[in-house]
Amino acid sequence: MPLLDIQNLSVAFQTRSGVFSAVTDIHLTLDKGEVLGVVGESGSGKSVTMLAMMGLLPWNAQVTADRFSFDDQDMLSMPEKARRRLTGNDIAMIFQEPTTSLNPSFTIGFQIIEALKIHEGGSRRQRRERAIELLDKVGIPAPAKRLGDYPHQLSGGMNQRVMIAMAIACNPRLLIADEPTTALDVTIQAQILDLLLELQQERGMAMILITHDMGVVAEAAERVAVMYAGQLVETGTAGDVFHHPRHPYTGALLNALPERHPGQGRLPTIPGVVPGIEDRPQGCLFNPRCPHVQEDCRQTRPALESDHSTGSSHDVFKKVRCYHPLVAQEQGEVAP
């Protein structure tokens, strides 16, 4: 039984001018201790999906799913209070902007201890000790002294470490990291990523790593889900997706990696932008930007279907949403 099991999840937003669906038809499963990379451009619905898992969407969001369970508990029918006992305790999340994600008016000690207080209890002294231990764990020097510091006194990298300490405070079984390194200096990015992976290994946490950096996914994830305009377009093991991308969008994303074009002047790009929530095209959502578009792509929307053409045929996770998936020769164009 997987730790996280999501079948056919959709999120729609109710607005004055109607209902807009932000993400549709999301299928994700995650086992204990597994790392899943979720990639896609801005606006592809990565964050909305994760916020739905945390129950942090605004009130006008409608979440529906055939199955949405964590540790065999149904998240949709669960009362609000029970849900909050899971949030921050069994499922924790860290965000993109560490500096604005911490409350500027409270010390980092207060903010870490608060999480411990509501989920674990214990004496004041125990909680303090534990907070120091956590700060030490995430690599903050002189942790006891740092407890009384405010977020503005620390650097972005340090703040992200504090966020991580806060997230792992209650030993979550699933950690969702929403572009944890995007806002940081390049030198710090690697450190934070290493720290996350180290903690994930050590604690056997499952982790969902959201990013638009394919390099990060390649380094960290066992499995990959590629999202585009609120849909999954391709899922598979990291090796499979990287070496044998089937969806033209995945192919194009990989093709845009600088390391695949050493010494060349201009990098290939994907023309156009992700369609907004209100102007999604008929047919395949990627068709206006797809180099391999054909007539049927413009008519009906393809479904996410199992794909056994490449890689290990027994991999049930390998799925693609395309009428004309890339074949070996086209994959060769993008693979090194």
């Binding site: 921050g88 994600s101 409350n103 405010y150």
Partner: protein, 336 residues
């Protein structure tokens, strides 16, 4: 911190000088002179009139009178009332507790209602609660104090007979007033019923005087809360699994109160201005009523002194608010 304080104090000097010029000019712009007023309807012999003006020093050029006033002020002398011949400062000091007591009660009323209502309106934005609170606030803000006061007196004192019409204490009580604060003095007097009677006298004037600050505070709190609720750290707080009440009361409110504090400080000036009208309506024996009486008697020294003292108080309150800032906003505390 020390340089900040010194800079703020240095800024008080030109402000203070400006206030002396304005009060002096305004007071002398009022038509008529104290001698003519004292003489009353029967009039006075022009020779005697000129002689009295000379005795009071009011026949000299206006700038000489101003510098004379300023010179005595620098020696800590506010002069003596032309009518009672008592020291202006002593008269002010005797009446000020009544005004202060009323102002404090009005402010407490404004804060206790204004902040929760503002938070409620902000959290339930767009709801009936929001529209009701904001509509009422706008009405309250636009309501002229004298009219609002009369309405309340007619309804609660006249029709319902719940509250007394005027004064600070019913004439059936005779108590010592060592502090000048009726609530404290009635408690000290151990006179049965006196304390409750003092409270009953305070209710209507406090509501009347507190209405405008209440409206301003509620509106400011609402917009401030709305802004803060969109911040990343609120999402973080929710991601910890905190109950909605705690997210708002702890994480949002602390940050939302920063701009509200400034507004509260500015309302102190509004409060004193309002006290003049409120005290007149309710025959409240405070500084406001004393100033109105001084205007009609053309008691120049009392007017100048009284206005100057109030202006100084308002300046000091605003300075204190500036300093208090650091207490609720750690970013300011450390940046100085």
């Amino acid at each position: 911190m020390l340089t900040f304080l010194l800079r703020k104090l240095a800024l008080l000097v030109p402000t203070f000088l400006g206030v002396t010029i304005i009060t002096f000019a305004l007071v002398h712009l009022i038509p008529g002179d104290p001698v003519a007023i004292m003489a009353g309807e029967r009039g006075i012999d022009p020779e005697r009139h000129a002689q009295l003006l000379h005795e009071l020093g009011l026949d000299r050029p206006i700038w000489q009178q101003y510098f004379d006033f300023l010179w005595r002020l620098l020696h800590g002398d506010l002069g003596r009332s032309l009518v009672t011949h008592n020291s202006v400062f002593d008269e002010f000091l005797a009446l000020f507790p009544a005004t202060l007591e009323l102002s404090i009660c009005a402010m407490v009323f404004a804060l206790v209602l204004g902040i929760p209502l503002g938070v409620l309106a902000g959290v339930k934005r767009g709801s009936i609660i929001d529209h009701t609170v904001m509509g009422t606030a706008l009405t309250g803000y636009s309501m002229p104090i004298f009219w609002w006061g009369l309405l309340l007196i007619i309804f609660f004192s006249g029709v319902l007979g719940w509250t007394p019409v005027s004064g600070r204490l019913s004439s059936m009580f005779w108590i010592e007033t060592p502090t000048g604060f009726m609530l404290i003095d009635t408690l000290l007097s151990k006179e049965p019923g006196a304390f409750v009677d003092a409270i009953r006298h305070l209710i209507l004037p406090s509501i009347v005087l507190g209405t405008i600050p209440l409206a301003v505070i509620a509106r400011m709190t609402r917009s401030s809360i709305l802004e803060v609720l969109g911040e990343d750290y609120i999402r973080t707080a929710r991601a910890k699994g905190l109950a909605p009440f705690r997210v708002i009361a702890v994480h949002a409110l602390r940050n939302a109160m920063i701009p509200v504090t400034t507004v509260i400080g500015l309302q102190v000036g509004v409060l004193f201005a309002g006290a003049i009208l409120t005290e007149t309506i309710f025959s409240w024996p405070g500084v406001g009523k004393w100033l109105i009486d001084s205007v009609s008697r053309r008691d120049y020294p009392s007017l100048q002194g009284g206005i100057l003292l109030i202006a100084t108080l308002v300046m000091l309150v605003n300075l204190t608010v500036d300093l208090l800032y650091g207490l609720i906003n750690p970013r300011i505390r450390h940046n100085r």
